[in-house]
Amino acid sequence: MSAETGLRLPEIPLRETVELVRIDLPPDQMELLLELGVLPGCQLCSVRRSPAGDPIVMVDGSLLAIRREMAGCLCVRRAESDAA
């Protein structure tokens, strides 16, 4: 198990699906993420990067563009089969 490896979303290579563990953001900035389905436990997958290098993330069939500063606040966990 790699529960708390301190991995952040920008460190994950493109096309790898990971699970969101924690959001390190103040509540007022977290809320929109939550409403858009970015919740602890959800599956995230960076599908590409914007020309400026910000991740474009697929969550539940929606594409979200997230500034990399914000993506850096998303702590994630690799799928267990990969960690093994």
Binding site: M30, L32, L36, L63, M70
Partner: protein
């Protein structure tokens, strides 16, 4: 036919039915029940609204377009009617931003002149059912009869997704309909629900249903609320046999280009050039047509009317003045056609992503890009659209710089001066000619001013860190021609109404001022008329910019609205050279202005806040005169300095 109501005024939460609006006292519809249309951004609310009411309403394929509220009547079988109000798209009811607060107020019946809704239609994009259903729970808690509309069902099926709406209805305890509003499928079920609402009539007046207040300020309770809700939503979706559709192939392929490190920004630039080139090339023949029509009708009048003051007023004043503005309608329509197509296709959201880094550097929030972009049409809806920007400092910075974005009222002024002073030559054939390049340059100049100003503001008066950027990228969709054309009709109406009211009134006043004081034999030479003296009075002030008194009169009159200057100059030159066709405007300008003066005038218009409506809206949106006064003074100073510099350099 129903009239659209819900106008730009309405701060903070006031729906004004307006004169001749939908809620007149003797109108049978007055007693009709009210249905509110709610849903996340980009779920197709506005499309459904248009389909139901047959009204024109701005529909765009990017989040955050509907900030004004639109009310329309839906006529049903057997002469039954319900009123429908279209609300801003929202992801939650946290009342974080101004437009979420507006939506809450409407749902809770706290809006003057608008009753609490008797039923709700909650519309969601069925291809993203799980996320979108997160909104269902707080909405259903209101306890008002609700229809859940699973929209974009055609897309869901095409991409191999599935959902059983009957099971979903059972588990949620509400009616569920399945639609594809864009192609008009499944609307019968929605109409049937509305029939039921009409038959039941209005709900008895009741205490305001209060929305659950989500725990604010504390991360954990909020997080728990969402996680819990999410679990319940997933459970329901699963029980209803929801299968997530595969990702859109088209979207992936297009994004691979439009968001490509190299191609992305390049496409962005080429599209920009294309739009400006089209404004000059596509619009040529319809402009010639409109021009011929106005000149022809003016000549017909001249022949058929006796020589009198009325003939002079009509031909030299109104025809020359209003006519010279109306000529620019085709160019404005070309601009709106492109803006509309880019919005509806989903490209604009990608453009926002490409522009975001720049926004971040100057300290603006990424969400501010969309309001700023709509500033290319008109600053007023753009300032209202900035209500989607949650942080107050972010919002103030955004609306302060919005009038720098080149609104369509500047287009007639730019187009006139460019056509008069810049010969057409290829620059980047076939993509770009000198005229389009000049126009593009002016748009860039405005955008640069906005960027520099925003950056200054964020370092001084509105100090603070820019907040995060998070934006949904909707799937690409082929824009519907019907919706595009409806929007162009709407635009033409707005433009012609302005020409028929403001510009018409200004030309009459100006013409009158050129006719006094009357000497024994008739009107004075324009130089010695009241208007001429007024212009000469301010001439010393504008002489350093390379403008003569006639331009000065134009500048003063354009304080009402920018394009008025074109009408003013049309009238002024029309009076000076009566009966000579009213479209010698370009030649007359070339006589009065040299190139330096012309460029100075263009720069002046790029920067100055010559729009009283914008000032009024700014006052309302900032609840005071401080910001509009500062904005007006700052923009005027910048305009004067910029024009002076341009005239001195050239």
């Amino acid at each position: 036919m129903a009239a659209r109501s819900g106008r730009s005024d309405g701060y903070p939460s006031h729906v004004d039915p307006g004169p001749g609006g939908v809620l007149e006292a003797d109108d049978p519809r007055e007693s009709a029940p009210l249905v509110a249309l709610v849903g996340p951004p980009n779920s197709g609310k506005s499309t459904l609204f248009n389909r139901l009411t047959g009204l024109r309403q701005k529909v765009a394929n990017y989040p955050g377009v509907t900030v004004e509220k639109y009310v329309g009547a839906v006529r049903l079988d057997g002469d039954r009617t319900v009123n429908v109000v279209d609300l801003p798209g929202l992801h939650g009811l946290s009342a974080r931003s101004l437009d979420e607060r507006v939506t809450r107020n409407v749902l809770e019946g706290r809006v003057d002149g608008l009753r609490a809704p008797d039923a709700l239609v909650l519309i969601v994009d069925s291809t993203r059912l799980e996320t979108q259903l997160m909104l269902a729970e707080p909405v259903l808690e209101l306890g008002v009869p609700t229809l859940l509309v699973l929209n974009m069902a055609d897309e869901l099926e095409k991409r191999g997704g599935a959902v059983n709406e009957k099971m979903l209805a059972d588990h949620l305890g509400v009616h569920v309909a399945r639609t594809s509003a864009r192609i008009g499928q499944g609307l019968e079920e929605v109409r049937q629900f509305l029939m039921g609402v009409a038959d039941r009539g209005r709900l008895p007046s009741r205490p305001c249903p209060a929305l659950a207040v989500e725990e604010k300020g504390q991360a954990l309770p909020m997080l728990d609320t969402f996680v819990e809700r999410r679990r319940r939503v997933q459970e329901v979706a699963q029980l209803a046999g929801f299968t997530q559709p595969s990702t859109s192939r088209l979207t992936e392929k297009l994004d691979a280009v439009f968001l490509h490190r190299v191609w992305g920004p390049l496409v962005f630039l080429v599209l920009g050039m294309l739009v400006f080139q089209a404004i000059f090339t596509w619009a040529t023949w319809p402009m010639d047509g409109v021009e011929a029509l106005i000149a022809g009708s003016g000549e017909w009048l001249a022949v058929h009317m006796a020589d009198s003051w009325l003939r002079s007023l009509l031909i030299d004043g109104v025809w020359a003045g209003v006519g010279s503005v109306v000529v620019f309608l085709p160019q404005i329509l070309v601009l709106f056609f492109f803006l509309g197509a880019l919005e509806d296709s989903g490209y604009m959201a990608r453009a926002a992503v490409i522009a975001d880094r720049l926004m971040y550097r100057v300290g603006l929030q990424g969400r501010a890009f969309l309001p700023l972009l709509s500033g290319y049409a008109c600053a007023i809806p753009a300032i209202l659209a900035a209500r989607t920007v949650a942080d107050e400092r972010d919002r103030l910075a955004t609306i302060f710089v919005t009038p720098f974005m080149t609104c369509s009222a500047r287009l007639p002024v730019y187009a006139l001066l460019i056509a008069a002073f810049i010969p057409e030559q290829p620059v980047l054939p076939p993509l770009l000619g000198t005229r389009a390049a000049a126009l593009l340059g002016l748009y860039i100049l405005g955008a640069l001013a906005a960027i520099v100003t925003a950056s200054l503001l964020r370092r001084t008066l509105l100090h603070g860190r820019p907040s995060s950027f998070l934006m949904e990228l909707p799937p690409y969709r082929v824009p519907s021609l019907r919706s595009l054309l409806l929007r162009l009709v709407d635009r033409s109406r707005i433009f012609l109404r302005r020409a028929g009211t403001i510009i018409f009134a200004v030309t009459i006043v100006l013409w009158t001022l050129t006719q006094i004081p009357q000497s024994g034999s008739g009107p004075p030479p324009v130089d010695t008329s009241v208007l001429g003296r007024m212009g000469q009075f301010i001439e010393p002030l504008i002489e350093p910019l390379g403008f003569d008194w006639q331009i000065g009169v134009g500048l003063i009159s354009s304080l009402a609205a920018r394009e008025v200057i074109v009408g003013t100059l049309g009238t002024l030159y029309g009076v000076q050279e009566p009966t000579e066709g009213s479209f010698a405007l370009q030649e007359a300008l070339r006589r009065d202005l040299d190139l330096g003066g012309a460029v100075a005038l263009l720069v002046f218009f790029a920067f100055a806040l010559q729009c009283m409506s914008t000032v009024a809206v700014m006052r309302r949106e900032t609840a005071g005169w401080k910001w509009p006064a500062l904005q007006f003074g700052y923009m005027l100073a910048l305009a004067y300095a910029g024009a002076y510099l341009a005239n001195w350099l050239i």
